[in-house]
Chain length 447, copies 2
Amino acid sequence: MSKEQRITPRTLKGFRDYLPEAMIPRERLIETARRVYRGYGFSPIDTPALEYLEILAGKGGDESDKQLYKFQDHGKRWVGLRFDLTVPLARFAAQHIGELGTPLKRYHIAPVWRGENTQRGRYREFMQCDFDTIGTRGVAADAEIAIVIHDLFRSIGFEDFTIHLNNRMVLTGLLERLDLAGRSVPILRALDKLAKIGPEKVAAEMMAAAATTREQADEVLRLAALDGSDNGQILKQLKPLVEGSETGNEGIARLADILSAAHAAGVPDDRIKLDVAIARGLDYYTGTVYETFLDKLPGIGSVCSGGRYDNLAGLYTSQELPGVGASLGLDRLLAAMEELGMHEKTSTPVDVFIPFFDKGRLDDYVALGAALRRAGIGVEIYPDAKKLGQQLKYADRRGFRLALIAGSNEFESGTVQLKDLSDGSRRDVELGENAEGLIAAVRKTLG
Amino acid sequence: MSKEQRITPRTLKGFRDYLPEAMIPRERLIETARRVYRGYGFSPIDTPALEYLEILAGKGGDESDKQLYKFQDHGKRWVGLRFDLTVPLARFAAQHIGELGTPLKRYHIAPVWRGENTQRGRYREFMQCDFDTIGTRGVAADAEIAIVIHDLFRSIGFEDFTIHLNNRMVLTGLLERLDLAGRSVPILRALDKLAKIGPEKVAAEMMAAAATTREQADEVLRLAALDGSDNGQILKQLKPLVEGSETGNEGIARLADILSAAHAAGVPDDRIKLDVAIARGLDYYTGTVYETFLDKLPGIGSVCSGGRYDNLAGLYTSQELPGVGASLGLDRLLAAMEELGMHEKTSTPVDVFIPFFDKGRLDDYVALGAALRRAGIGVEIYPDAKKLGQQLKYADRRGFRLALIAGSNEFESGTVQLKDLSDGSRRDVELGENAEGLIAAVRKTLG
């Protein structure tokens, strides 16, 4: 092929390849999430990447509609690529809940696509990692979500993180008490700016946009200002703020139940923090709201968020389906783990490398590799009988920890030279029957 | 929402949801493939679902082009959904091989999309599961592919399967000897119909389409007719057929090396069958060709196929990248496993169910679940304190094996009723310190 006919190999703007060094920790993270979700009885499901456009359009607001990848397929049907896993879950639940029954506990780990502005460093294809319990209002399900989040971050290897917990019903209760029940949307919108513009300007906006009095605005701000290291203390202070509101009291009771159950499950009390200032998500969720922050990197925002909703699939079915769930921000978390130095730099999934040293001995190398694999030790054998130095350079670059060097002399005498690639030290090891001597030595060196 | 405004929940024609019962074995299969690939040093990679149309178009022939999902994105770029993982691998290799170096051993497990005719029972979205070694001509890499296929099917749980092995160079050698080197395409096309139309009609087609003599056609058919349970016997019979052709002799030598290495790796000799009648793939592959058949279901065709190619990425780079690999037909294999009764019918990823029996005891249930999970035993706790019978019916429907029933009396006395859901038998078990007594009993019952 001439140079002119060649096509430049490139990915689309906003899309990226995952090279082994990035993909190995990504797969490990997904495997951990899967294992944790499963341990609580969440089952995997999958849905198509492409859906009828009418299923997707108008579900995530104007922004989502604009970002939707949509086109006409071969049958002239208008179709779209899913932009999240929640809309497909709603469609899925409406379609299959009769067969599956409730509660339906599912996880779904799959890519989604959004034609976002890439200038904000966003990608147009990213993995979502959701888990939800559908078909129950029981607070046990809400408590479990918090417990799963804790288990998940501990299993990934985090020590320092905080789950922020709120319940939309508390604010609803306060607004009921203040006779502001119908004005929650503009009030939430103002409250959401608290960190950015401060209480004075938020109060002014509430008065302007929601026609509250100064006193009403101050009461709402009092709620958002409640803080303290002691969740019990906060619960006590909340009570008078929602006095007389059944909704508000239920919200407080549910928060208390979640804290108590999480404690019983072994979650340290300071890992969960009542944070009644969370406004984000309150216009979407109807009960519990979760956000998860890494103590060492609070600036990246919540890495696992979710909440309770009254009716998941109202657009597709008359069956009311309440639920609660959360979504792990996989790519954000991977970036954070890289920044925190939690990834080992490696582009090999195995630790042991066997150079192909003696061209006539392929069967011996293959037999050696097979023996190690049977013992559960992954091994890569170099495919060409190149110079040893060249092969060992390859092994260093890839990040192997151990090389097993053998040529005719070694195979005849039943030994292998074991080279520790971290310090370059070498020693001879007896193969032993079925390579048992070598296997023991490899296990010992790898620790 | 009124009934009129509701949207019918449905998937596109040719697409499907995976419910837990189908997704649990699918995830298990993917996990097995991943573990086996990794054990040989294959690293995971991922590429975008969407690529520039010019990368994809014209790469898989007219049929692929017709089936391509393509459209203009927000920036008016023509883009397409990948229809396989080979074209993205070629683009990926051309783009990154300088950084990654060779050999590059990668696996890629990801969905692909083809707007196929669904009348043939085909799906328009399906998972591919490829592994390849790129950047080497070494026969060690070819042998490893066969060894991996064997390891993969054994690890999935198959006892009876056969890997059919061929090498394109053998036919090339024969055609060289017969002075038919330039006519391989029509000859292969005729040979591919052997099973369907028989040797007489294949000979007639070779004479008509490739202008061979009757004697030449018979020689080619003699090659395809070589059969026998003994691979060594076949190798011997091949030699005279390619006499004088360097290419033919190299093909035979490579087949012999693969058989020998597979034997050394512990692959039983009758698992690999030299099958010089494989014509499918010979127009694409340039060396070794693999097909894998399930002995009990030969009719479904090859469930793992692949081969060696001279130059993967010639469309995108001047660097010559030879390679060898294969692809596991995940969905076809899952259908086969279902037909063979290899799947347990379950829609829960865990075995143990805890009914929520006593409304006031949520913390106790949660603590019990946490203790079991810490011991590595997955547990689902029902989220609502419904009637026990209703909860146990749910547990039966989902396929749990064990229920741990406890109410106030049990918690006070430190016991749990262990119900085996397979036979309905119940017995009381002492919880013991940190639930150790119960954990031991659960482990024993689950076996």
